[in-house]
């Protein structure tokens, strides 16, 4: 009896306690809403790569404890550029997407740079999430400008005329000095007899002045070319460091230095040849009647025994000097050919320095 009475009481108490706990849970939920933990995933991107300032941010909000999407969230986005004095972006309110728990905000940033996006949620929980992105102008295939008119401002002017004239004068000077040395070589080796003597005497007279004029021309035009006809802009080779900074520039400067050494050797060799010509009687003397040389005619006044011997000595000396002249002239010509070869190398290196522009680089 008592047990029967007791059981309904216990059942009632148990039911009542259960209802009380349940009721307290639901009542407590609004209060806990401020402390409710939600997880926000934020991603921002440009819908079009050609317009990176026009961006869309997607926020996904889920409850942290069970991962359920939060459908009644209220989110606001703000953006600013750290270190910049501008006002940043005015607050943007997110709109719920069709998919539960997703919110989207679209906006246009005023400027490029490093932007810090901050999304704040004030319902159903309070909190924020930040995202930093560097937004640069579009480039390459993303560039919104696929055509642009580039104007070349350079025109053919007096400077170009002067450059061509200077190159031409340098070439003329080179041809003259090499031609003069080559002519002396040919005279020394292959031209003989009375007619040859006259030519040799003329060569002795004119060679130094021709060489001098050629070198003067080469020096003046070379000084100009070094400034205006070199791979780098003026002052060109007078600042070798600038030339060396170009692709293959080191090799160009080294080749140019070698060229100048050989040019110095050519100057010295040509001067040596001019002196040798002045000292060689067979290049100075005019032929006398009967075909005997001046030296030989003098020797006829000597004693018969010594005459033949001295004549032989004079011939030997003349032959030796003649060979010396031929050797110096040949060396000068070879030196000049080597200089021309170096000029070709320099032109090729100059071309190579542009290879990147001609053939592209990776």
């Amino acid at each position: 009896m008592s047990m029967r009475w007791l059981r309904p009481r216990i059942r009632s108490l148990a039911i009542g306690a259960g209802l009380a706990v349940t009721a307290s849970f639901f009542l407590a939920s609004p209060a806990l809403a401020h402390g409710k933990e939600v997880t926000i995933k934020l991603s921002c991107r440009a819908l079009q790569a050609s317009a990176p300032l026009e961006r869309t941010c997607l926020a996904t909000v889920v409850a942290t404890n069970d991962g359920d999407p939060v459908t009644d969230g209220r989110l606001t986005l703000t953006a600013a550029r750290p270190g910049k004095s501008d006002d940043g972006l005015a607050p943007v309110r997110f709109s719920p997407e069709a998919k539960e728990g997703e919110y989207v905000a679209s906006f246009t940033l005023p400027a490029y740079g490093t932007w810090q996006f901050r999304v704040e949620i004030d319902k159903p929980a309070e909190g924020q999430v930040s995202l930093e992105q560097e937004i640069l102008p579009p480039s390459g295939s993303d560039s919104p400008v696929d055509q642009v008119e580039i104007q070349l401002l350079r025109a053919f002017d007096l400077r170009d005329v002067a450059n061509i004239v200077s190159l031409g004068l340098h070439l003329v000077g080179t041809m003259v000095i090499l031609g003069a040395n080559a002519s002396i070589f040919v005279m020394a080796m292959f031209i003989d007899g009375p007619a040859g003597m006259r030519i040799r005497r003329s060569a002795v007279r004119f060679f130094p002045w021709l060489a001098l004029a050629s070198f003067a021309l080469l020096a003046i035009s070379g000084a100009y070319n070094a400034a205006y006809n070199s791979p780098s802009s003026s002052p060109g080779l007078y600042t070798p460091g600038r030339v060396a900074s170009l692709p293959f520039g080191d090799a160009y400067v080294a080749t140019f230095a070698l060229k100048m050494v050989l040019a110095g050797v050519l100057v010295c060799g040509t001067g040596l040849l001019a002196i040798a010509l002045q000292k060689t009687p067979s290049w100075l003397a005019l032929p006398i009647a009967g075909g005997a040389s001046l030296g030989q005619s003098r020797q006829t006044e000597r004693l018969v025994d010594g005459r033949a011997r001295r004549s032989r000595d004079a011939d030997t000396e003349a032959t030796t000097r003649g060979r010396t002249i031929a050797v110096i002239a040949a060396a000068n010509v070879l030196d000049g050919v080597a200089i021309l070869a170096l000029v070709l190398v320099m032109d090729y290196l100059h071309l190579l320095s542009h290879a990147e522009a001609l053939f592209g680089g990776s």
């Binding site: 501008d86 006002d87 246009t108 005023p110 400027a111 490029y112 740079g113 490093t114 640069l136 102008p137 579009p138 480039s139 390459g140 560039s143 919104p144 400008v145 642009v148 008119e149 580039i150 104007q151 070349l152 401002l153 350079r154 130094p208 001098l212 070198f215 003067a216 020096a219 000084a223 070094a226 780098s232 802009s233 080779l237 007078y238 600042t239 460091g241 600038r242 030339v243 060396a244 900074s245 170009l246 692709p247 140019f256 230095a257 060229k259 100048m260 050494v261 040019a263 110095g264 100057v267 010295c268 040509t270 001067g271 001019a274 002196i275 002045q278 000292k279 320095s353 990147e356 522009a357």
Partner: protein, 162 residues
Amino acid sequence: MREASIVLALLSVLGLVACGGGSAEPSSPDQAGPARETSAPSGPRLWIKEGGTTQPFDNGRSVSIDGTDVEIYVSPYPPGRTANIDFYLTRNGQPVENANVSLQYDMTVMDHGPFKLLAVPTGRGHFLAPVEFLMTGDFWLNVSLSLGGQESVISMLVRSER
């Protein structure tokens, strides 16, 4: 003999003159532009000339000229053989739309041009200039801003690399 000596002396002088071009002292890199930093790829790639001096310039920095703030962004950065340069013009914080922005540029150590191009207005104060540098190296850029009949020039240096 005397004649030959005179000629030899003159030839020697000419030789020295001719060699003079090649023996000039190397110039300071500053003459051509900014100093090279081959060992530091993260070094500056932009410079601006202000008050007669060339100073490194951070990508995205603003320069104020004749009352107009110009924010300059180079993309990609570091700049390659081609780069888009954005000029963001503002006055008193407001974008400037009615302006013309044009560029003249060429390499500092080689003459290829100079070239001139007109930056394309892309709206809200932005002007985009797609620049082709032709080669890797240092390029000078003169940026002309034409605004309300007034023209201002910003002088920059850009180092393009592969």
